[in-house]
């Protein structure tokens, strides 16, 4: 019996272990990389380049976090997720941060147990149709067959919009953006709907971009942003302020090219941001040069936008709402002090 009770104690001890969980920052530092959830491939936002390395607007957010934490922008592993899988991956702890053009909504923030750390792209849902249909407004789409991706706010907005307009539609849902595009191009659908940024991204990779037109109506607000699990506020703060630092850097004119000169700037805001004075890095539990590293290795918000989405890219998206508040957009970061 003594032997048996020993076994029982050993068994109990085995099962007890593992319930305690460390903070995400400690976990990330211990394993030496950030597990970053991204799309399965959306040109401009996250797509592998010709060398198989993931690149894009969302990828660069993760790279900035990696630079801020490790002083190296490449301590990252990527988990491509579909719209359907992304939340479960984050909830279960499979990924540490999700940067996957995800719309910030109340139920996702509250009910799903997430923490949105800000908005890195102000978007809205739109429609793309073939020019040959001769449609010029979304209000003419009564009776159309619509292809879209499942597991998105897009599905809800679409149903709401058509109900509000008193129009009928027929929908076909797919798992990935590529499947939707394929079905749309094969003309089994009249309309492709998703966030406008996604429509531009998809239009940039079709063989005949000029034959497709994105309709002017924007039927929803889609503030896209990175998110983390609810409950680990220290980790959420790091993600939030990495994003803010990139925006502040653009406001202050700090770029990856001039960040070294800017270190000597007399502007106290720049000095605080770059860790020359104050203890902002320490407050976050990071190195003093956290923002310096992020800006130096990845670039400020404006640089990231232009590299992946701007006029020099096939997407040719103008800044629009995503311009700084001081230049006519609504991009506004709280002060870093």
């Amino acid at each position: 019996m003594k032997k048996a009770s020993m076994i029982a104690i050993a068994a109990a001890a085995t099962f007890m272990a593992g319930t305690a969980s460390a903070a995400t920052l400690d976990d990330v530092k211990a394993k030496g990389f950030i597990q970053c959830g991204i799309t399965t491939g959306l040109a401009g936002f996250a797509a592998p380049n010709d060398k198989g390395v993931w690149e894009g607007f969302d990828v660069d957010f993760c790279r900035a976090m990696s630079a801020a934490i490790f002083g190296d922008a490449n301590k990252l592993k990527y988990t491509p997720t579909t719209a359907k899988e992304r939340f479960t991956a984050l909830q279960s702890g499979e990924i540490d941060v999700l940067a996957r053009n995800t719309t910030w909504t109340l139920s996702r923030d509250v009910n799903l147990g997430f923490e949105f750390v800000g908005v890195n792209y102000y978007d809205g849902q739109g429609f793309m149709v073939k020019k040959s249909l001769g449609v010029s407004s979304a209000k003419e789409l009564d009776g159309a067959r619509v292809c879209l991706q499942s597991g998105t706010t897009t599905e809800l907005n679409l149903a709401d919009y058509f109900a509000a307009q008193g129009m009928k539609f027929d929908s076909v849902l797919f798992d990935t953006a590529d499947e939707v595009r394929e079905a749309y191009l094969k003309d089994t659908c009249d309309v492709y709907t998703t966030d406008q940024s996604g429509l531009y991204a998809q239009r940039s990779v079709v063989p005949d971009p000029d034959n497709h037109v994105v309709l002017p109506e924007v039927i929803s607000k889609e503030p896209l942003g990175p998110l983390v699990r609810h409950g680990d506020n220290a980790w959420g703060d790091i993600a939030r302020w990495t994003l803010n630092a990139l925006i502040i850097a653009e406001e202050l004119g700090v770029t990856s090219a001039n960040v070294d000169e800017m270190k000597g700037s007399k502007n106290p805001e720049i000095q605080r941001l770059l860790g020359e004075s104050g203890d902002l890095g320490e407050q976050l539990g990071l190195d003093a040069a956290w923002a310096y590293n992020a800006i130096k290795m990845v670039g400020n918000y404006g640089e990231i936008f232009e590299t992946h989405l701007g006029q020099e890219t096939p997407l040719k998206i103008s800044r629009g709402l995503n311009q700084l508040w001081s230049k006519g957009g609504i991009l506004y970061a709280p002060p870093a002090r």
């Binding site: 076994i7 068994a11 076909v172 003309d187």
Partner: protein
């Protein structure tokens, strides 16, 4: 403890530590306790983590408004603005059952036809059957589904260039459109006549069996049955003065509306599943027929029984005993494989309930549990039915 065990007198106390019965009991209890502790640990761990992360739990979400549209809805009145996630579950179940059951029927027909053809003495027929079987069995199902969807059905003419049969049947890459039947007053008699036809056929078949047992006179049950099941509704329709109208599909600004439509997402899944599973069933049928000794055929021939009667009444009933158990697993596979539909946009339970609903509500554990429960229930029902059928056709030993 019995007295005649050598070296053990009645009433002798054996140390419980050495008593095999006590030991066995102890180890069984230990296993059960360990198992329960494990289950408790998993459940507790899950609940704690859900609470820690602020994720809601429970089944309240089933009565929440769903808010999204579903491509294919059968029998249920669904509206994104008013329907709930519970309705989504129901539609998912109906759509899964629709494609599984129709797929099982077609796969069985394909399987039996090709299984018999595979045994044909005609070289060409035999080779065609074996090429079909080898090709479909050796290509992954998902690839076949994508082939049917993207390479066959979506390559059909687009909606403005539909292939038409007459004015009212149209085929394009959005589906097969045909007129729908709109019931009018008195329509009820037709389904009633249909049901009567089925019941009458059952009685005729019993009577014919009995008569054949008594007198040896055969009776054409199959043709009589067809006559009853098809004839009675036709007579009913004529008696009530054709109590239905047609609604014809008509081309709108974008799409064809009105009438009935079979959408390509359903067709791709239906064809893909049936043709794939049919290949496996064909091999099962062939092995079943091969398992019946050739002596049975020779004996039937020497009695002067016609070849088709030999096949139907002597070979197949014996072959079925070998066929049914593996056939059951093919039916189960087909049902479970229908979850691959999510790749080609068919709205079955995994795509809409374990997909969109899960994503909108975030309640992964509840939704996945319900989905698993559904598949388990369906699989068990199919198993129970097939086991019942298997015991019915089993060799009766006299």
């Amino acid at each position: 403890m019995t007295a005649d065990v050598p070296g053990m007198s009645e009433g002798a106390k054996v140390s419980p530590f050495r008593d095999p019965k006590v030991r066995a009991l102890f180890f069984q209890i230990l296993v059960i306790v360990t198992f329960l502790a494990f289950v408790y640990y998993i459940a507790d761990n899950t609940i704690t983590n859900l609470e820690k992360r602020g994720i809601a739990s429970g089944f309240d979400f089933l009565s929440q408004n769903s808010g999204f549209d579903i491509g294919i809805v059968l029998f249920v009145d669904y509206n994104a603005q008013t329907s709930t996630h519970g309705d989504v579950l129901l539609i998912g179940i109906i759509n899964t059952l629709a494609v599984s059951l129709s797929g099982i029927v077609l796969a069985t027909i394909i399987g039996f036809v090709f299984g018999v053809l595979r045994l044909s003495n005609n070289w060409l027929v035999n080779k065609i059957a074996s090429v079909y079987i080898e090709v479909v069995r050796n290509i992954p199902l998902l690839v076949q589904l994508l082939f049917w969807y993207l390479a066959v059905l979506l390559e059909l003419p687009n909606v403005r260039e539909s292939a038409k049969i007459g004015e009212s049947i149209a085929l394009n890459n959005r589906g097969l459109y045909f007129p729908s039947i709109v019931p009018e007053a008195g329509f009820w008699l037709i389904p009633v006549a249909f049901a009567v036809g089925i019941i009458a056929t059952i009685f005729v078949s019993r009577w014919a069996h009995k008569r054949q047992d008594e007198t040896g006179q055969p009776f054409p049950v199959i043709s009589t049955g067809f006559g009853l099941i098809l004839g009675l509704p036709i007579v009913a329709a004529l008696v009530m003065g054709l109590p239905f109208g047609f609604e014809y599909p008509a081309m709108g600004r974008f799409n064809i509306s009105g009438g009935w439509v079979v959408k390509p997402e359903f067709m791709a899944l239906f064809l893909g599943l049936s043709i794939y599973t049919g290949g496996f069933i064909a091999e099962i049928v062939r092995s079943g027929i091969n398992a019946v000794s050739h002596g049975q055929t020779e004996a039937a021939n020497s009695l002067g029984i016609k070849p088709n009667i030999t096949m139907r009444l002597i070979i197949i009933p014996q072959a079925l005993r070998v066929i049914i158990p593996p056939l059951t697993s093919q039916y189960l596979n087909l049902t479970k494989n229908s979850s691959l539909a999510t790749a080609i946009g068919y709205s079955e339970i995994v795509a809409i309930f374990a997909g969109t609903s899960l994503n909108q509500t975030g309640q992964a554990i509840e939704i996945i549990a319900l989905t698993m429960l559904f598949y388990l229930t369906i699989s068990l029902i199919i198993s129970v039915f097939m086991n019942w059928y298997n015991s019915r056709i089993a060799l009766v030993e006299r």
